[in-house]
Each structure stands twice: as C-alpha cells, then as structure tokens.
Symmetry: C2
DNA sequence: GCAATACTTAGCCTCATGGCACAGTATTCG
DNA sequence: CGAATACTGTGCCATGAGGCTAAGTATTGC
C-alpha cells in the first residue's frame, strides 16, 4: 500500500507536465524514437531526455535502444493506477452519500 | 485549451502528494476544519496549510472561514478534468487500434 | 576510416516544493 | 478583560524540477 502510494506519486508527477502529456498522446499512435519525439518540442535534446526518463521511471512508458536509436512505447495499463484511485475515491464518496440518504429517509419516516 | 492544460497541470500536481490525497479522501466523508485535518498529519500547521492552499488553488477543494475556523469542502466535479483527460487519451488509442485492425484485416483479405 | 547521426553525460542556473520555527492576529470562552 | 484557540504570516533551509551549454560516446552510412 505504501508502494501503491509511491507509484501513484510518480504517475501523477509525470502527468503534471504538458510536455510529458504530449509525449503520451503521441505514443498513443504507436512507438516513436526519442529524436522524433523531440522534434515536436521547443527544447534541447538533453532537457527533453529528462522528461523521457521521468516517464520511464514512472512506468508510463518503456524504452529500448536498438543501435543508436532509443524507441519509446506507451504502457497503457499503467494508467490503470489512476483509474483505480479515482474509483476508490468515488466509492468512498458514494458510501457516504448512501449513509446520508439513508439518514434522510429515516428522518422522513422515523 | 491552453487553460485546460494549465488546469490539468495544477490538478495533477495537487494529486501527486500523499498528504494531499489523504485530505481529499478525508473530505470525501464531508467538510472538515483545517485543524481537524491537521491532527491526522505528522506535520506542523503552517506546513500543512500550504497543502490546503495548494488544493484550493488547484480547484479540488474550497474553503470558507467562519469565526476562527476554516472549513474545507471537496469539489468533486473537479476530478472530472482527470476523467476527461483519461477518456481523451483512450479515445486516441482506440482510433489507432481501429486503424491498425482495419489495416490487418485488409492484409488478411487484400 | 571518417563523418554524420543519435543520443548521453556532466555541470550549471533558477525557481518551486515541502519542511521547519517563531511571532502575530482574530475569535471565543470564562 | 484576559487567556486559550485556531489559524496566519514571515523567513529560513534543503532538495529536486526543468531548462541551458558543452563535450563525449556509440552506430551507421559513404
């Protein structure tokens, strides 16, 4: 659970940057090399590479190097963490809402 | 759209901290004062207050001060931003998958 | 082999985050 | 009124994010 939380930290941090979200969007259309990704971004390559590394350590993408080209692939299932978190939050709210409605209906018919 | 992206930045940054996620979870059960929230957290009040402010500027919570007590309330609808972003990502993937499957089926029956 | 390509490393800068302590303000209670 | 309560403001510090330049390494193409 502590690990779950740390993973979630990493994923949310990774998502909190437009450059990185842009990379994810692009990778949704298939694997792309670092160089090709960087061409779309107004930034030097070393700076951009930091974003790629961060996406990789968050688990949102994987990369493999073949020759001198590093290719990035989206790990779609990783966003399941966000889904799960959202679902858990909402479950908590709804439990509360249920109890609240129950309480209200008891007041209606005591 | 630029604003949408900036809003998303703020929300993801806010969610990228266990303390703040804990606050949201707690607020899911109803409004709570800053002091009560702080009691659960191993941190000084001024430090904790920074988290509350950050949650507020991200739009995930609202706060009102009555007398000397500031009460925090969850803005549930704000998480819709995350839903929307997730949905948009997935739509992009699926479009691609559709095209890919179409391509494959064309290869099967040229 | 040599030059171009595609990263990669290293070092530096600035600003934001997340923590602290300490002192202040505004309300409320006796 | 005076003390306790509940924040709030200020200033400090360490760390890490996000950008840069300059130089280095490993592959590939001619």
């Amino acid at each position: 659970m502590a690990q779950y939380s740390a993973d979630l930290d990493g994923v949310f941090v990774a998502l909190a940057d437009p450059t990185r979200r842009g990379v994810l969007r692009r990778l949704g259309r298939g694997p792309v090399s670092v160089g090709d990704l960087a061409r779309d971004v107004p930034m030097t390559l070393p700076s951009f590479l930091k974003h790629v590394r961060m996406l990789e350590t968050s688990g949102l993408i994987s990369t493999v190097k073949a020759g001198r080209v590093r290719t990035c692939v989206l790990n779609r299932e990783r966003l399941g963490l966000v889904d799960d978190w959202l679902a858990a939050e909402r479950r908590a709210w709804e439990d509360r809402t249920d109890r609240l409605e129950q309480l209200l209906s008891e007041e209606d018919h005591p």
